[in-house]
Amino acid sequence: MLDHFGYVVTVLLMVAGLFIVIARGNLIKKLIGLSIFQTSVYLLYIVPGKLIGGTAPILSPQFSVYSNPLPHVLILTAIVVGVATLALGLALAVRIREAYDSIEEDEILMRDQIANSNEGMNA
């Protein structure tokens, strides 16, 4: 079968996530893109660890083939990092929304420019 099909879809997911992060101006949508980007990396690690016919790496006399546990451990950590980043990002987005009354990057930039030019005039 398609030996690398898993990889191709993984790549598609990753790139879609990355695209949302860079291309979208909405702070929350960016974060969702970021988390999709991060999540899809899980597949990159886990898919190769799978052995067809194997089972989850919980040792038991009934089974002899287990999927690789190491990627699982790593990805557990990565998931935690992902959610930690998301939480902080959202907290920042909320604060930005309060300070600028917007979560659109373009509007925020515009408001900063106005503030900058005012600063220049006062000086």
């Binding site: 989850a56 919980i58 557990l76 935690v80 939480a87 959202l90 907290a91 909320v94 309060e98």
Partner: protein
């Protein structure tokens, strides 16, 4: 949602089981899927569920902010402390073999405490974050 009787009844029935399940996940982690992190999240989810049904203030009485903030840091301290215990008992950092005269028991003991630390911090953090967001409110 506060006044939805059905939800309240179901919640009352369900929440203890959620918390129990969290404990199961915590202590069964050696033998099946699960462990401190999942347990912490599930436990926090139980409280969040409670907060959604019975209101944030009620939840805050069950799990007061002080307690939550203490959990936040004590989990990490327990974990790091297990590591230091390894040092004091003559091993390397995070060495569980020296925690018990029988090295394999030492591993069990180490893993138990470490998982406990993870669960406490994770539960504390999840709850704290939820509280922070929930109590922020829309400020216009």
């Amino acid at each position: 949602m506060k006044h939805d009787l059905v939800l309240r009844v179901i919640g009352k029935l369900l929440i203890p089981y959620i918390l129990l399940f969290a404990l199961y996940v915590q202590f069964h982690g050696d033998f099946g899927p699960g462990g401190g992190f999942q347990a912490g999240v599930i436990f926090a989810a139980g409280i969040v569920f409670y907060a959604l049904i019975f209101g944030l203030e009620n939840a805050r009485q069950v799990m007061p902010d002080r307690l939550v903030e203490t959990m936040l840091s004590s989990g990490v301290l327990i974990y790091a402390g297990v590591g230091l215990a390894g040092l004091f008992l003559g091993g390397n950092y995070l060495d569980y073999f020296v925690l018990d005269p029988n090295p394999v028991h030492g591993q069990h003991r180490g893993i138990f405490w470490v998982e406990a630390g993870v669960a406490i911090t994770v539960c504390g953090v999840m709850l704290k974050i939820f509280y922070m967001f929930a109590s922020r409110g829309r400020s216009e």
